[in-house]
Amino acid sequence: MRELAWLIPLLPLVGVGVLVPFGRRLGDPRAGWLATALVAGSFAVTVAIWIEMLGVPAEERAHVVRMFDWIVVGDLRVGASLLVDQLSVVMALFVTGIGALIHLYATGYMHGDDRYPKFFLYLNLFVFSMLMLVLGENLLVTFLGWEGVGTCSYLLISFWHERETAAVAGKKAFVTNRIGDVGVMTAMFLAFSAVGSLSYADLGRAAQDGALGGSTATAIALLAFLGACGKSAQLPLHLWLPDAMEGPTPVSALIHAATMVTAGVFLMTRLNPVLAASYEWAPTLVAVVGAGTALFAATIAVAQHDVKRVLAYSTISQLGYMFLAVGSGAYVAAIFHMVTHAFFKALLFLGSGSVIHGMHHEQDMRRMGALRVAMPVTAGTFIVGWLAIAGVPPFAGFWSKDEILLYVHAKSPILWAVGLVTALLTAYYMTRQVILVFFGAPRWTSHADAHGAHGDAAPHESPASMLAPLVVLAGLSIVGGAIQLPFSKEMHFLEHWLEPVVEAGEASLSGSWAYANKWLLLAVAVVVAAAGIAAAVAVYGARRVRAVEPRILEDAWRYDAAAARLVGGPGAVAFRAVAWFDATVVDGVVNGVAYLVRDAGGAIRRLQTGFVRTYALMVGAGAVCVLAWFLVRGAV
């Protein structure tokens, strides 16, 4: 069965192949059903492979599927190969599983859109790229998927490109991602020159037996981290993600919650032996960037009014958590949080999409309220997602967040404190959102009046195709924590599963203060979450305290404006200098060679007179010269 792993990315690609020529003919909704069925099929294949892997001993589970030699140039041999191991199967499971749910949801959400088939074409292409990314056996195959998801995110974010803001947001996401891609590419070059191979197995072996020097390993790890920052929206490259909310909501859920943004965390986890072989400060830097991003984004989410923007900043913040875990050597916890986050953040995004759908494309939370009456299922599932992200036991987010905090405490109590403050803010802003959207007094009557021409202006519950994924994801958000429970060693299911992949970099907790006092730390986290929820209830529910939503937080610390000023001012000068260098020096050399060849050709072609007899004379003269040479040589 594992030999059939190529089916996993192939099925979505088949969808692309069918939808390009026949998408318009299939139309709404059959194109959507086809795309959904194919992703569901690839989920079924993944599950079958996973079940087979469960049946074999841990050390025999990893399996490489060689499809064909992709690039063979000199020493460089890159196979188009898939690596089916514990990590990639976990990733593929939730990418295809949640991807299928989001496809199903999109059949309802995008119903009636003019470019309905094209949307599913892009979605399928995106899932294909993401699967290549996670299943790649070497850096280059991963990079193929890496670029593929970047391109698809551009296409999907600017899907409604008639809107100026959507087109700009798509471009912004693409350009910001390119900055990170430079890092990944350079990391690949370095890895190849140092190890002579791009496959993860060779890289890991070289890192573990010391063939990879400390400085090279550090450089590779940090360059890959730069790419991860771009893809996973970490400081200072986070600024594309909030704008990317211009895309249709299923896109936000698929790209910005469940799949693409986790690519950075995945890459760092894949490269864990390299990170472990690098200097001490490299993982610390990763952890600090993660903690900084987590706190930074959480403060911004507190003052946002757009229902999706809150979730966008929340995503950035949660990704910061994952990098905090990676930097602390808690790879299992990072993947654990990635999985639970995929459950509850996809749920929250899809829930917010359901709200937006029901509110006739209103996204401002100030014009919502009391929607639990009109949209009971959406409200119920959204509340589950809220409890999960806020860290309320026994929901999924609680277990994964505490696992991370435990490891972080063992690394540095200061970073732990930052994580704790972030947890407090997370509970606060998510409670604020739930209250503003689903509770209190309705504030949307004015909106309905203004848009009276709509006819049915009152909020309404979404169709079943949108609610079914919500209910499934809500269920997963409740029980998702069960894959890694802290009660006993035997209940660390995910840790046992991932152990062979991450053992090189995984930090050990045993003997640390944090491990001895893990129940205390757990209690502290629960108290903090409760405090955050209570504060938000006091401010927005009971309205005892005035809301604190400073302007600077609403403007996201003016980071965007500052970046724009930097890029527009000194940045533009530097870019122009680089462009001049490129046009004058680099192009000059290339064009110079071409001019030289052309001019030399122009001079030499005069030899071709067109008179056959001249040629004959030349040939004769040549024969005489050859003869003379032989004679002279014979004489000497």
Partner: protein, 108 residues
């Protein structure tokens, strides 16, 4: 009786001299004449000069390879004449009284 005086054996070098003269005549014709038919004939002359050289040396060195090569040259020469004549005829159909100096379409 012209030719070599009696009693003098006709050595291999005589044949080689004849071959060289034939070759020179052919080369001279190719470079001087402008009629394509005559030029083709001169080329034939040069080829046969080479054939003569081959046969002579093959005889003197007792090596059969030279004789074999002659057969190949003959076949190639036949093919060359066929193609060359076909081209000349095709050109003649389009223009009358052509000399090779009028055919300069491939001038650089």
């Amino acid at each position: 009786m012209s030719g070599p005086p009696l009693g003098v054996a006709v050595g291999a070098s005589w044949y080689l001299v004849v071959a060289a003269l034939l070759f020179g005549v052919g080369l001279f014709g190719v470079t001087v004449r402008r009629n394509p038919l005559v030029m083709l004939m001169c080329v034939e002359l040069m080829l046969n000069a080479v054939n003569l050289t081959f046969v002579t040396l093959a005889h003197r060195l007792g090596d059969v390879a030279g004789r074999t090569t002659v057969l190949f040259v003959l076949v190639v020469a036949a093919a060359e004449v066929t193609v060359g004549l076909a081209i000349v005829v095709a050109i003649m159909r389009h223009r009358s009284a052509v000399t090779t100096d009028d055919l300069t379409a491939l001038r650089g």
